[in-house]
Amino acid sequence: MSVGAPKAQHLNAVTEALESELALLIAGVQRRDRKVIGHFFDRFEGEVNRIVWSLLGADPEHDDIVHHSFAEMIENIGQVTRPIALRGWVRAVTVNQVRKAIRGRRWRRLFGSVNEGLERFDSWVPDEARLETIRRVYRVLDTLSPELRTVLVLRHLEGYELSELAEALRCSLATAKRWLARAEELFSKRHGPWPKGSTS
């Protein structure tokens, strides 16, 4: 007799119910049913907003990037072949949109057409100490490549596990682990020595 069989049956039933609900959501979005698209937005906007907010730090183009993320999801939702993977796919699409935005800025920054923009925190962070902390962190994050910035923020601000990082970045676990180690090393050098044991 296999250990844990009753628990496995229960989990299977829960998973099946969730899977069929997600399949209906996917089908409705594909049909461009506006009511279902509204539900889709309501279901995932919290996560999408949080990812963009954390990765870019309350950026002026935040709403644009959220909109483009959802627009891409609606356009390409037919790619989701396993409904249970929808949440991971939503994260991956959002992360990809943010990475594109970061890459574009890094390119334009070479020509001096984008300023640092850290003063965007000034109006809503009242505490001087927190303001200095957040500006210092995002100043360093701005120096990292999109991939290193993404793994660092998703891991340390959003608490993603390694497997979740790999899924969001559409890379292997080994690559995510390597990027994270490199990101932490660079962050330590540019911000200050990093507390040990954070990769486990």
Binding site: S2, V3, G4, R31, R32, R34, I37, G38, F41, D42, E45, G46, N49, R50, V52, W53, S54, E61, H62, D63, D64, V66, H67, H68, F70, A71, I74, G78, Q79, A92, K100, G104, R108, F111, G112, S113, D127, T133, I134, R136, V137, H156, L157, L162, S163, R170, C171, S172, L173, A174, T175, K177, R178, H191, P193, W194, P195, K196, S198, S200
Partner: protein, 395 residues
């Protein structure tokens, strides 16, 4: 000296994101954009004869005199603006409509039997123009004019950067303006973007009046080759993205999540039968795609990757274990999970040990009890802790 970890404070300061008003605006904007974009096509061949009857009726309708396309109560010269939280839609008597997205500013400059001119002062508008009315619509943005006779399109104009973007969903439009020696046709599915060079943008003066500046134009631009050629002739700073090359690249297909197509392209290029040509990270990604799609080469590719060792080898071993487990090949799965733990104990000790425990119990292997004790010692709150406790307590 080790500095304090700044991330908890940043997390607390940032909060969860923008406020409710922003989220409502995002929702409205998305639904509005969805209303103007077509749903995927379906097979409509059964509609042929009804469509012919409708077409005949449409000919009669076209011949019928049309009312002037002016929204009720809107005089020529009227300016209209959309607030920052919601779009504004104008519907004309001939069912054409113009939707100004939040923050946009526009003006009805002309309207009579032969033409309609709408000036987009700043921001973004989506428009649908009823066909076969005999009227020409023009959307004016700065020095540019977008000429339309019956189509769905979007126009964005950022006056501070002199940046124009035109996207056509249905029909075709013509764009004229400075630097374009001849009208440029933009057809359904195409976009045109026009902006001066970056250095010129730096020197551009700020807007003279305090008008709401709409969101920046989207980053993705695609222009078909014939448009690219005309723009190149004009010798202006126009951003053009050319279509991807025809032969499918399995790397790009895999990166965009198209696993089936990526595997087909990899098979055509020969790498599936020559994995030694691939670096370990590439081999791992291809092998995992093959595993998910049930491709017959999956086991071979994963095994090759395991043999190379390292982080990729460890992950390949874990995935190979899952492959065997899904097939019911218990003994092979046990071997693969053990390889994963051996190659990278830091990452796979918890992930693989739990699965290993399950399999050893199925095999009635006596080493299951020792593994269960070890699991509980290292991962007392892990996902398989309950199962491990049962194993230890059973005997």
């Amino acid at each position: 000296m080790t500095a304090e970890n700044p991330f908890p404070k940043v997390r607390e300061t940032l909060g969860d994101g923008p406020g409710d008003a922003h989220r409502q605006m995002q929702r409205s904007r998305l639904l509005q954009a969805t209303a103007l974009s077509p749903a995927p096509r379906r097979d409509r061949r059964w509609l042929f004869w009804p469509a012919m009857a409708i077409a005949f009726a449409a000919v009669l309708v076209v011949m019928w005199p049309k009312p002037k396309p002016r929204p009720a109560g809107v005089a020529v010269g009227t300016e209209f603006s959309a607030p920052s939280t919601a779009p504004v839609t104008l519907t004309f008597a001939d069912e054409s409509h113009v939707t100004l997205l939040p923050g946009g500013l526009a003006q009805l400059e002309a309207s009579d039997d032969t033409h309609v001119d709408v000036r987009l002062t700043s921001g973004h508008l989506d428009a649908k123009v009823t066909k076969h009315t005999g009227r020409v619509w023009r959307y004016l943005a700065g020095p540019y004019a977008v000429r339309v006779t019956g189509t769905e399109l979007s126009v964005s104009w950022h006056p501070g950067l002199s940046a124009l973007e035109v996207a056509v969903q249905e029909g075709a439009v013509e764009v004229t303006g400075p630097g374009l020696s001849a009208p440029v046709a933009v057809r359904a599915g195409e976009r045109l973007r026009r902006s001066p060079a970056v250095t010129e943008a730096k020197a551009a003066p700020p807007p003279a009046e305090d008008v709401p500046i709409a969101e920046a134009a989207p980053a993705t631009v695609q222009v078909k080759p014939h448009v690219a050629a005309k723009l190149a002739e004009a010798k202006t700073d126009v951003e053009v993205t050319k279509p991807a090359p025809a032969p499918p690249d399995w790397h790009a297909l895999l990166a965009s999540g198209n696993r089936k197509e990526a595997l087909a392209a990899a098979e055509t290029s020969g790498v599936l039968t020559r994995p030694e040509l691939l670096a370990s990270p590439e081999l791992l990604r291809l092998a995992d795609a093959a595993r998910i799609e049930g491709h017959p080469r999956a086991e071979n590719l994963l095994t090759r990757c395991v043999a190379r060792g390292g982080d990729e080898g460890a992950e390949a071993a874990f995935l190979l274990g899952k492959l065997h487990q899904d097939r019911g090949e218990i003994a092979q799965a046990v071997g693969a999970f053990r390889d994963a733990i051996r190659l990278d104990p830091g990452t796979y000790d918890e992930l693989a040990s739990g699965r290993l425990l399950e399999l050893l119990v199925q095999l009635n292997d006596p080493s299951a009890r020792d593994l269960a004790r070890e699991y509980l010692r290292k991962h007392p709150d892990g996902p398989w802790a309950a199962a491990a406790k049962k194993v230890v307590g059973e005997r």
